[in-house]
Symmetry: C2
Subunit: 110 residues, 2 copies
Amino acid sequence: MNNPSLYKGILRPIVIRLLEENGRMYGFEITQKVKAITNGKVKITEGALYPLLHSLEAEGILEAEQEFVDNRMRKYYKLTSKGKKVSKHSFGEITEFVLHLQNIFNLKLA
Amino acid sequence: MNNPSLYKGILRPIVIRLLEENGRMYGFEITQKVKAITNGKVKITEGALYPLLHSLEAEGILEAEQEFVDNRMRKYYKLTSKGKKVSKHSFGEITEFVLHLQNIFNLKLA
DNA sequence: TTGCATACCTAAGATTCTTATGTATATTTG
DNA sequence: CAAATATACATAAGAATCTTAGGTATGCAA
């Protein structure tokens, strides 16, 4: 991405939102999904993603299960019931955040 | 603000944008302006703002001049010509950032 | 067989913030 | 009039969140 520091603090809500919308995803899939949505502009680094997934699991927001596909390990994550509550709250925060940005920067978007 | 970590990395473009729109502001004024725009939700901390203003000045993006009003010191900042170029670039990045957020979070905003 | 894609992981360091504290003056309130 | 609140600047220690750089391993294409 152009300015990585803009995305500091955003990764956690991104992961939670993607899991809410897609039900079940593995780490590598999340990086590809974000890249696809943003036309290759936003690249989540593995050094940020994997530790985050582990801490979300430790917090009881996500639960994981491993599978082997084509002899390669995949660790699928999904929201727990606690995670679904957190997700609703997180989404509200993000919505407000974006509205604030539109006001502060006087953005006129489609 | 609700979730301060969302705003990590955003303060710098906020300051630049406000100075572009208002021409000339002092630190305390910037904190009040952001609070006003966001209905009291977003509070810029002084511990983040003042060091940032100093480093923007050191980078040649801002220039400062002191004044005394009611026997109290004010340090006014404005964009340099370099700062104005940086501002254009920064604004483009923020616009793209917000569009990405809308896509990632599937936001339907006014 | 070399490189690229997939798929996981961790550790050191950088960046950006919060929290806490300090200085000083002006105004409001009990 | 004393105390609290608002204005206005500043710095330092520590927390949070990321990047960079490295590691392991499999499958496929050139």
